[in-house]
Amino acid sequence: MRKIVLICAAGMSTSLLVTKMRNAAAEEGYECEIDAYPMAEAATAVEGADIVLLGPQVRFNLEKVRSLASCPVEPIEMSAYGRMDGEAILEFVQEVLDD
């Protein structure tokens, strides 16, 4: 069971992506828990996460979130984010986590 945490400014736009990613995960039977949080809650949100993904618009916070989290922290690729391509982003997660 993997815990995937998405972070953007207010947790709004990444929450749009969460649904897409959950669907993609359900389709291929990848067991994971995916949630979106605002940057303000980053410190508590990263607890217990296996991977943290940052919305490209808040990627200037990358170093800060890396210092908070003990797992990989990666920015989401701009065009995949724009297309809200849950599948591609899930694939990226699996690549990073070697699943």
């Binding site: 749009l16 919305g55 618009q57 800060k64 065009s79």
Partner: protein, 450 residues
Amino acid sequence: MEEQTKKSPMEAFTDLMMKFSGPVAKFAELPAIQAVQNGLIAVMPLIIIGSLFLIIALLGTDAIGGVVLLPFISPFTEKLLVMNSLTMSFLSAYCAVAIPMSYAEKLGENQKTCGVLGLAIFFVFTLNGVVDGQISVTAFSATGLFAVIISSLLGVRLYKLVTDRNITIKMPESVPPAIGNAFTSLIPFAVVLTVCWFIRTLLDFDLVAFLTTALTPLVSAADNMGVYVLDRTVSALLWSVGLHGDNMWTTPIFQPFTLMWTEENAAAMAAGQALPHIWTNSGIDRISTWPALVWPLIFLMVTSKVKYLRTLGWACLPAAVFTIVEPVIFGLPVALNPFLIIPFIIIALVSAVFSYGFFALGLCAKFFVTMPWATPPFILGPLGTGDFRALIVTAGCFIIGLLIYIPFWRMFEKHLLEEEEKKAAKKAARKAAREAAKLQGDAASGIEAK
């Protein structure tokens, strides 16, 4: 080779923006700045609740549009205003707890302890005693906001300084931690509060009054077209390279001011006075920026000749109504798109001049309350100002955006169509080649079979 020369101005621009955004991001990441920001976020629900009560209360008076819209509310106006004055108008008192708590979180100190300390700092540092069972609540309102920000940040800093030096009373291990902690913070609390008391009561220095006379005229002067247009343009520049301009630039720098201005407008409205400010929190900016910068793009997408743009436009529409624009910014994309970032920045500038000018000329009543930022602009405007002419601001911004985008959009669309044609041509060529190969193969196998 040709590709590279085409790309280079874009890359130069990105590099420039990244160089600029570095220090901005560093500023926004300072623990003290983040603490103020997170503290303000925490009190936002109270400000919005106060705003709603104020709107309802005013519907029972003739303050909105000169007519009593809901006469049955009139008898309760005073009672409804009580809620407003205890929530929205006590902005600084709530910040006095929320900011020290979020600063404590940033500094790795105990939040509960620092929340209590913050409230004590607020009382000792702003009030000079209780007279006849009454206290002055001047500092509770936006008037005290800057004093609260300064005193709570410095107070928590001093607390940490004393604690880090281990100037505390330590209890033996047999004492339960809850009791032990109370004693641990005894000396640091005493130091911080004595300093506050010394300044406020012994020296009789009133920071709230001092800042009001020294700083307020300066701060209030920041609510002008120049600063507003600069803010909108810089924010758009950051968005144009795909960074959250409002989050990394506007909020850390301007939110304390805009919140203060909102509360000052609300108080003036409740008192039946003229509203002092045009620029408020989630006000003019939210009814103009995205209707000018993103809504025209949605319109152009859904009416485009390119099928993929139509699909994308419809997909982006629902979120964009609530001014959630990331799908458009990254999906179209606008960010780093050589065709669109030039009009994007020009529109940000022009629409800011237009909307600020509209309010400055008195063509629309000013915002006196704040609403959640994702409220659709066509609801936010009339509700927040009590004036239907706020719709003209939103519509005007949309039209300005559309007119400026169109020539650039034509180029962008043409480019996409050409790309599509090229792709289609390549695909057709590949298909033809495959078929030819197949025919040849068939012929060859036919010969072999013979």
